[in-house]
């Protein structure tokens, strides 16, 4: 079962501090980073929103582009099992959440390994990461609004006891989260990259982790 222990056990203050410091750079800096990385805005793009709550809400809206992208959302269902593809069709072969890692005898790891693996006989690949698994049902958000997801991921009752720092770390460093930008042959990556997603998360947390309205 995937829990926050994975992130928590290797929690690094240094990484978070580095991320926070990176986010502190304003747009007025001469060597300003690009405001957009592969379709995802960087925190710099939101720096001129003065109000913390407004900025946090806007940052979260940007983060939700990643979270609701099929590369992420396919394994964050609210009901039933995972989906596949950009059209988010039901997973084939059919799989169930079961004990969290699939059904007895038909587990996620029955097919998915630690890394993507390209098919030899056709285009495409089977995705893999450590560990390949569904998000817990309480973290399912397919069909949810960014505001609902925001409330959900901050709720320690539902998020597996994660603190904001844990969330920043998860979004910045988690291997399975990282997969979204390295999805293997035959899949389009989520917008941006993990560094930007992590930075957005850190900036959102720093701005008070306020949620969008609605």
């Amino acid at each position: 079962m995937r829990t926050l222990n994975i992130a928590g056990s290797t929690f690094s203050i240094a990484i978070i501090a580095a991320l926070l410091s990176a986010c502190g750079q304003g747009p007025s800096e001469p060597a300003a980073p690009a405001n957009d990385v592969n379709g995802l805005k960087t925190p710099a793009a939101f720096a001129d929103i003065a109000d913390d709550a407004d900025r946090a809400a806007a940052l979260f809206g940007e983060m939700s582009k990643v979270m609701l992208h099929p590369r992420c959302a396919n394994c964050h269902p609210r009901e039933g099992g995972p989906t596949q593809g950009d059209d988010m069709h039901p997973h084939s072969p059919p799989v169930v959440r079961g004990f969290g890692m699939g059904a007895a005898g038909m587990e996620c790891s029955t097919c998915h390994g630690p890394a993507n693996f390209a098919f030899a006989s056709m285009e495409g690949s089977i995705p893999g990461a450590v560990p390949w698994m569904l998000a817990p049902q309480s973290m399912g958000w397919v069909g949810a609004t960014p505001a609902e997801i925001c409330a959900q991921i901050k709720d320690t009752e539902r998020n597996g006891g994660r603190t904001l720092d844990d969330l920043v770390f998860h979004n910045s460093e988690d291997h399975l989260v990282n997969w979204a930008w390295h999805p293997g042959e035959g899949r389009a990556p989520a917008p941006g990259d993990q560094e930007t997603f992590g930075a957005l998360t850190a900036a959102w947390a720093q701005a008070g982790a306020h949620c969008p309205a609605g």
């Binding site: 072969p93 059919p94 007895a104 005898g105 790891s109 097919c111 693996f117 056709m122």
Partner: protein
Amino acid sequence: MAVTLKINGENRSVDADDETPLLWVLRDDLRLTGTKFGCGIAQCGACTVHVNGQPRRACVTPLSMLEGADVTTIEGLEGREAEAVRAAWAEYDTPQCGYCQSGQIMTAAALLQRTPQPSDEEIDDALAGNICRCATYVRIRKAVKAAGEKLEG
């Protein structure tokens, strides 16, 4: 890349492209042909083996992830669950063409190791990844159930 792993209890060393799927290592290099090729993309389950006790599709398992692994194929499947499954397969005359049956049996044995008396739903969930084009499914379901009952009895 040479990889040392245990196949059906025996230590074997395989020197092949490290991306070679276990399926072709088993069949081409080790001549363990009971593990079948059906789709090559983890859709049909005909190549199911056990890796470190867990059911695994050999067609999407690269050699590179198997250093030191303990692999069981249909040829080496033993134990009370395996015996119960094979006895039930015979009682219900389950196979038709037989080509998918190694995979069905590997999955069924893994299911019974985890859930000794599965319900119909648990059987369907476990075997959802094992296609049988002959559609022997009603007999598979009955046989797995009977095997479970025998194990418990």
